[in-house]
């Protein structure tokens, strides 16, 4: 009886697998891990977009912030002979070999959010992601234009930059943008630059030390909102008022940052949208229809959100955070 039962189970499984592989388009996604609210929103959006698409099947792998896990996952995808690979790398270097293997297996590669350094040496269908350099520029430019708007445009200000995980393309891009924009605002003096690893705990510890080692900090540029939120606690512990004594500019626009801005503890967050589902799904549909892409770069449209709105940054005008907080999904 038991044997018969096992046989039935085995047969059902074989049928299930073959039925799935016969029809479904298998899309594999190697994600970094769950490092922040932003990443969670990114994962959820892509997962639901693909899983809810009829005829599509998602193979998801969480890399837990380790490059070796992601390399292993990519090799597994090749062995499983999936139809498409979506990929976000935890760091920007060291992907050459495994991504070439993906190319050799002739699996279309779609890069999500972060471009690996070897992007010009490998083939990919499309890259979806924010313009990190522009985001970095907007962070500093917002602070500069904000001071102009309150009539302090020619007052010297001390600025600190809290960078993300060293080597991540979001860190290198935003740092480049930060420094480029600093040159345009000569009244900003860079007095500190350190990595907070994109996490709240380290953002808190770095800010705590800065408040003691640097006499006067006027502006904090944090390359993601989580570090800014950590820093807010450290600023409070030092007896200063975040958002007033120290102007805080974050990046990503997670909901917790909106709460902080509405509560007056943070000044601005530059958006880096994680909602790529709406861009990725049409691209894969087009590929399925036989359309051809070659290294198409898709920048989703992004905004800047602050306390009062109306700061003009050239390419974009800031929006009052309180007006849009209800419609934010992450």
């Amino acid at each position: 009886m038991k044997k018969v039962f096992l046989l039935v189970v085995a047969l059902v499984m074989v049928f299930a697998v073959s039925a799935a592989s016969a029809k479904d388009v298998v899309i594999a996604f190697s994600q970094i891990g769950q490092e922040s609210d932003w990443r969670t929103a990114n994962t959820d959006d892509l997962r639901s977009a693909i899983e809810n698409h009829p005829g599509w099947k998602l193979v998801y792998d969480d890399g837990q912030q380790k490059q070796e896990n992601q390399i292993k996952a990519l090799r597994n995808f090749i062995t499983q002979d999936v139809d498409y690979i979506l990929f976000t790398g935890v760091v920007s270097t060291g992907w050459d070999e495994v991504l070439k293997e993906v190319n050799e297996a002739e699996i279309p590669l779609l890069l999500i959010d972060r471009l690996p350094d070897c992007a010009d040496k490998i083939d990919y269908v499309a890259a979806f992601g924010g313009d990190f350099v522009e985001e970095g520029r907007r962070q500093v430019a917002w602070a500069g234009e904000y001071f102009k708007s309150i009539g302090k445009g020619d007052v010297d200000m001390n600025i600190v930059i809290m960078e993300g995980t060293t080597g991540a393309s979001a860190q290198t891009g935003r740092t480049e943008g930060n420094l480029k924009a600093l040159a345009e605002y000569p009244h900003f003096k860079l007095v500190g630059q350190q990595s907070g690893n994109f996490t709240r705990a380290e953002g808190q510890a770095v800010m705590e030390s800065w408040l003691k080692s640097i006499d006067k900090i006027d502006v904090l540029i944090a390359q993601n909102d989580d570090m800014a939120l950590g820093a807010i606690d450290a600023i409070k512990a030092a007896g200063k008022v975040p958002g007033k004594d120290i102007i805080i500019v974050g990046c990503d626009s997670v909901k917790a940052a909106f709460d902080a801005i509405v509560a007056g503890e943070m000044n601005c967050t530059v958006e880096c949208t994680p909602l790529y589902g709406a861009f990725v799904v049409p691209t894969i549909e087009a590929l399925e229809r036989g359309e051809r892409f070659d290294k198409t770069v898709v920048h989703p449209e992004e905004g800047v959100f602050d306390m009062d709105g109306g700061i003009d940054l050239g390419s974009v005008k800031s929006v009052k955070a309180a007006d849009v907080i209800a419609s934010r999904r992450y």
């Binding site: 769950q34 960078e163 350190q194 996490t199 510890a205 080692s213 606690d233 007896g239």
Partner: protein, 356 residues
Amino acid sequence: MRKNLNLSSIMQSKVTWAVIAEMLILLVCFAIRPDFFSISYQPSTGMLYGSLIDIVNRSAEITIISMGMTLVIALGGTDLSVGALVAVAGAIALKFLRWDVLEYTTPGDYSVCPYILVLTVPLIICALMGLFNGFLVAKGGIQPIIATLILMVCGRGVAQILTDGKQFTTGYSPFRVIGQGSFLYLPMPIIITIVVVVAVALFTRKTAFGAFVESVGVNPSASRLSGIKADQVILIVFLLTGLLSGIAGLIYSSRIMSNDSNNAGLNFEMDAILAVVIGGTNMSGGKFSIIGTLVGSLIIRTIVTFVYYFGIVAEATMAFKALIIAVVIVLQSAPVREYFAKRAAKRVKVSGGVQA
């Protein structure tokens, strides 16, 4: 003659060299910026405020975990799961603080489970996970490094399942007290650390338990033959380490008022092992030093604070940390210690001879 022996044995001790290393690092800090040592009273938080306070405060998690790790290493093992348990504790606590709401909402818009559950359940679960490690080692005869690897790998997965892969944020103020509150002008994590260190020291030194641990670490079979229940000792040590990881997890998540299943406790097992080794406990088991471990943990945090305070460029941070730790380890190596012990012995002998 007795004085002679004492000085040379002090110079032989690894703990002495750990203290000397910490002094040297602090001396360098003092030489660069004397105000590194300034401590003031911060009226808005009711706490003392200064870099030295930060070092002790931020070392709390590693110090607490490494108290358990000291005993595990004295048994001749290692516990790799402690970092993952930190994430588990945070995830459970935040799950109870955000019981019915999975998607992000403004702090205050969700029901909170009884606070006692927020505090006790993570600790009980972590203690049980520690007991699971101990069971595999004591009853299953599996090497500790392999046995604890299981929870190291799947612990974070458990944490993510518990919180649906999300990072919850809470505004519940009683929870803030653990990591950001104060008591007697000191940050709460320092108070918790003191309590834990004193409790572990009393438990191991005022009872025979410490001697049992050392005995089992040196030779489990001989200990068993002499009437020590080796299995029980192993179970208690791993349970304790799990519990302490849980306490560290509550402190970590209270500091950031959220759970962080991937980053909470990341590499804490390595830092804890390093603290124990710098503190003079031998990886092959046997004698251990609670005070040494405490100093070891402070050294690790002093280096991190040094990096932040003096603005070492982010790219060079790792190399800088490794360099300092290498110097500390070399200072503690047998040849260096013996050299200084001999010199000390000689000097005492010579001066003693003149006086006589």
